[in-house]
Symmetry: C2
Subunit: 350 residues, 2 copies
DNA sequence: TTGTAAGCGTTATCAC
DNA sequence: GTGATAACGCTTACAA
């Protein structure tokens, strides 16, 4: 039904091969012949099938982007930048939301590879993702990890300095007078979860505050998880004066729990987290955050991947750590003086 | 290098065809033979090439999702739902951000089709997108339009009731005492832009307020556009007491402009818009909006498309209009009494 | 129930 | 310069 290369060849009175050469801009074709072919292409309105091209050339010009949830602004921005970078290089992007489900992740990775993607940009769901990634890597398949790193997996990795960021956040809270800082952490074993917990501990140490297991609540890092963790935190006695949430969604969930209890942020309790919620910040500059360069993760990650695909990348794998930025807004209680709880205690001692 | 169907056939002592039958779960294969094939598949660790499958069967199990900007939460949620629905049906999703650029949109649509997507879910950039869509439709290619409809294009369409939503928003402002309501509209000719403008006019009419061209500012519907439009609005004398922004990003931009001028929302000027910014609303319930069911647009749109692809959809095209919801928060000035400007005027008359 | 032959639409290889 | 031929790895159609 559709016009094929052979139709063009016939119309131009040449072989299919010559048409192919013309279309792919190879030289070694007589100018006169080239013209005839080009005319035939135009006359017939011929459009080459990329599927057939992919099969024959084994080049799909497609990469797979696998992440937890594109509706999360952090990943949405990352995805946007990744797609733009891919497009600029003539690549298409196949999208997958794993929902943090390892099985979905594994199935999608396999499917994408069989479908012929030339490489994968993966934000792994957890350490367990390595079981899906290692077999690919062993076959020499190009994979770049973003956001989360994977223990024992040797490939290109692009992450942020989670330890430093978390430490900074906690120190900032400490400077505002907070001593009882709860942490909502990742229940899964993840690089980011571990690092941010480490940063939390480092921050406490720097502040001369002891680390208490009872102040760390590990949960699924989505809104519901944050909500539940915050509920547990609010049941604590004495109640912490600040919460450090491991990511944006848990902070949103925590906020929800606080609101339900009629607690104000930052007056009753401070709340800070990783990952900015950009457009939100413009509308109401509220949440104090460690802002990860999501767009850069997407763009740079894609570029790394494309270099790996094209073979331009060296044999050694890159491991790039980007720095984060502390954005101070209201939710940490800056400008409020010491945390309320301490005020209350002071009042109590009158 | 990789194991092929023939390798399996050889190992199992059958023909390639029989292996194919087993793999695709067709019947008409002896149980004993099936077992032998399955064993061989396992032993060899055979994985079928989906690229070859696609070429031979002409089924890529892939759809294209083409929209303006996945970093916009509205589209991100739509995309998330679309991908989930596609996955459930065994389909992959190829993603494209057009950035509102018609050329990018057209090139991507063509590319996706040549690449073999079985259908397209498109949120068109503007009316002009029809030039890219009509040729596809004429070939009988499955296309479903979401968010924006296209004049003179006959295909499945899934939109929201923009007129009713905009009218509701304006009436709500009117009920709060606003009479001078500016509108930041879409500079492109778009279905949503027209409809929302129409709803704006209908709302004014219902309120017994005259329509003034000078209160309508058409701009690119992104943050910068909203920012600039708001600047123009603020230069107006008398200054409107409320702004109705055509979408979330223009509202964010408007907010930015207001903040720069040290104007508070809603005390100095009210601000409402289309599209919710979900997680944001939890953190600080600020913006009064007409909330479009983004997830349903994505899910339903994908389902429509898959039905069209499978031929289950009837010859007649669907045109579905979903209802929106008014979510009243603070930015409209509810609870503030009459708009400040009127208060000032009242004071002036003392 | 199973196999054979002929593609799917292009590119790579090696002659001419 | 150009073309014939054989892939790429599978499916469809038909034959046995």
């Amino acid at each position: 039904m559709a016009i094929t290369l052979r139709d063009v060849a016939r119309a131009a009175g040449v072989s299919a091969m010559t048409v192919s050469r013309v279309l792919n801009g190879r030289d070694g074709v007589d100018n006169e012949t080239r013209r005839r072919v080009e005319d035939a292409v135009k006359t017939l309105g011929y459009l080459p099938s990329r599927v057939a091209y992919s099969r024959a050339s084994r080049k799909t010009s497609t990469i797979g982007l696998v992440l937890r949830d594109i509706a999360n602004p952090f990943y949405a921005i990352l995805a946007h930048a990744a797609e733009a970078a891919a497009r600029k290089a003539g690549y298409r992007v196949l999208l997958c939301n794993t929902e943090g489900d390892l099985r979905v992740e594994r199935e999608y990775l396999e499917d994408f590879v069989l479908y012929g993607v030339e490489g994968l940009l993966l934000a792994p769901a957890s350490d367990e993702s390595r079981h899906s990634v290692l077999p690919l890597l062993r076959r020499g398949f190009p994979v770049v990890l973003v956001d989360n790193s994977l223990p024992g997996v040797d490939c290109d990795v692009l992450v942020t300095d989670n330890v430093a960021g978390a430490k900074r956040l906690v120190e900032h809270l400490g400077a505002l007078g907070h001593r009882d800082i709860a942490h909502i952490g990742d229940a899964e074993d993840t690089f980011t979860g571990r690092e941010r917990l480490q940063g939390y501990r480092d921050g406490l140490t720097a502040l001369g505050i002891g680390y208490h297991e009872g102040l760390v609540f590990r949960t699924v890092v989505d809104q519901l998880g944050g909500y539940r963790a915050a509920q547990q935190i609010l049941a604590l006695n004495p109640r912490p004066t600040a919460i450090f949430a491991v990511n944006n969604m848990t902070a949103v969930g925590a906020m929800q729990a606080l609101r339900e209890r009629q607690l104000s942020v930052p007056e009753d309790i401070a709340l800070v987290c990783f990952d900015d919620l950009e457009s939100l910040a413009v509308l109401s500059p509220f949440l104090t955050v460690i802002d990860q360069p999501a767009a850069m993760l997407g763009r740079l990650g894609t570029q790394l991947l494309l270099e790996r695909i094209s073979g331009k990348a060296g044999a050694r794998h890159q491991r790039i750590t980007l720095q984060t930025e502390l954005t101070v807004r209201l939710s940490c209680g800056v400008g409020l003086g010491a945390p309320k709880k301490q005020e209350l205690m002071a009042e109590g001692s009158h």
